[in-house]
Symmetry: C2
Subunit: 339 residues, 2 copies
């Protein structure tokens, strides 16, 4: 088991390493623990054998292992509270009532990125339980029309529909009317199945070339569910961290950031602020990602901070928690105001 001085020691080492990015030696901790370096060394050896500390080489000071950070985050961190200064910075955003929610989120993450020198990411998409409010169809020419879908939360998506053959305008109008009649109020992720099972049988009865029309609309309407915004801020920031000091490290992390499946690795499903350290991140063994889902009326997504494993965990977690809470509050306020 891990003794109480050892806990204190692990915590101190994590904190020190986060601050300085250099292996922590036994001597430097003497004053703090009011004992000799030899004693510290004994405890360090113990912590190492438990897997919480590592050495960079045989006679170096210690650095926290992934398990060490994990233990710190799970058991040693101070009770959650955001620092006054950080809060102040973020408040400027939420005090500004003019700002739309999305802009407020972007702005906040820019601030975090800026003051921490980590990289931040926002994934956003329309909530899948939003309801369809209206379908508009605007013809551009004989073979091309635009389908516009509006949800109850004011989200608009449009898609150009190419028709394989010309369709009389009145058939388009009829179909549009039908779609509106039958689809208003339908959650957008149920639209495709409703098209298939409710609309198709009707449409086939009274439009002669129904397949062309049906397919066009099916394609247009069934893609809306998956639209997704992605915004990175401060991709270059992470390079300021001393862990990325060789060309290869830098190139490596940059390619990871640019790779196609980066986004899919960021999405978070849990409601809590979660921390994924090193290999847990699945992005790169040298980074930590802190992230959480947010959900407000009409929109949901993930906000995330990516930094080195040697991250200011407490600070980042607290800021993200603060942020999540305020996003969701602001979401509610905005909704009230609209009513």
């Amino acid at each position: 088991m891990i003794g109480s001085r050892q806990k204190e020691l692990l915590k101190e080492i994590v904190l020190e390493y986060i601050k300085t990015a250099r292996p922590v030696g036994s001597k430097s901790l003497c004053k703090k623990f009011k004992c000799s370096s030899a004693t510290i060394r004994n405890d360090m050896a113990e912590l190492e054998s438990l897997g919480y500390l590592e050495k960079t080489h045989i006679s170096s000071g210690r650095i926290p292992s992934e398990e060490g950070y994990r233990y710190y985050v799970d058991n040693l961190m101070e009770p959650k509270k955001i620092s006054g200064e950080d809060m102040l910075r973020l408040q400027t955003v939420f005090n500004n009532k003019e700002l739309e929610l999305n802009d407020a989120i972007s702005k906040s993450l820019e601030i975090i990125s800026d003051i921490t020198n980590y990289t931040s990411v926002i994934l956003g998409k329309e909530s899948s339980d939003n309801k369809l409010q209206k379908v508009e169809v605007v013809p551009i020419n004989e073979r091309q029309l635009i389908a516009i879908v509006i949800t109850n939360t004011g989200h608009v998506e449009n898609k150009t529909v190419m028709l394989d053959e010309a369709i009389p305008t009145e058939e388009i109008a009829k179909t549009t009317e039908l779609l509106n009649k039958m689809l208003i109020g339908t959650p957008i992720d149920e639209v495709p199945s409703k098209l298939e099972f409710d609309i198709k049988p009707i449409i086939r009865n009274y439009i002669k070339n129904y397949e062309v029309v049906y397919n066009a609309f099916y394609n247009a309407l069934s893609n809306f569910t998956s639209e997704r915004d992605v915004k990175f801020t401060g991709k270059a920031n992470i390079l300021k961290q001393p862990e990325f000091s060789t060309v290869d490290d830098v190139k490596n992390i940059i390619s990871k950031f640019e790779s196609k499946d980066m986004v899919s690795k960021i999405e978070e499903t849990g409601d809590e602020v979660k921390v994924y350290i090193g290999r847990e991140s699945e992005i790169d063994d040298n980074v930590t990602i802190v992230k959480t889902k947010y959900k407000v009326a009409g929109r949901e997504g993930t906000i995330a901070i990516i930094g080195p494993k040697r991250m200011e965990y407490e600070r980042v977690i607290n800021m993200l928690e603060y942020l999540k809470e305020h996003i969701e509050n602001k979401g509610k306020e905005d909704e009230l105001e609209e009513k």
Copy 2:
């Protein structure tokens, strides 16, 4: 002035340096020019004094200076023709008739990025001479409505309008009707002034709270002109180039790429394919950017390739020219097909 063997020599040095990324020595050119290294050295010294060549240190081989590249591009490059292999790669895209124009452009630039290991960029925006085809207004609730603008080319933009105070629906409807009546066919960049000078005087006469309504619509409709898509492909590619071999070089170029004013430096106004070498690029002294404007029905923008100064000029320029031509052709074909 520069003699004809010297031209040949400069060309050879540029080509060799592009291939190998190492300073070119006099000996290596003996066979090619059927003369001794001393002769080459004399010519090299001459070319250096004219500013076309540089040394990395006092006894190194020569590398082309910015002026050297410039001279090569302007005077020494072979007559334009794209290589068969490159053409083949790009043809796969344009032969695929299914592909929408925008996707075809993206795809092409991905290919170029891929085979050259440079970074490619597409800027796109709706043409400013597109005409407004329809304005739709959909109320979401008492204080919020969505303005949707559709252009004759099928482009759709929408914007949420927040009303400072509730406005009766019939006033909204009246205004919408008026907008449609007066604005249809107006080029979108003339919309703001038409709003100000034609619509405002009318609206003030028959809507009592006209300022609220007017401002809301003015904000919604005057922003459409400036919307702009940006797509980078292969940002990490440029790092594969041997010129970016130190951490500082890499970090430097990455921050330049991420910086806010990067995009504004890419936009090109000229119709030709243009080459900006080193400091001419205004991005970074170590890169060259090759770019051109493209314009098709309804859309215009810039396509650009960014690479090291030691870029395969001929190849890139030819591909970009080929691309520009085919984009504009495809634009015309698509238009015909629609008719």
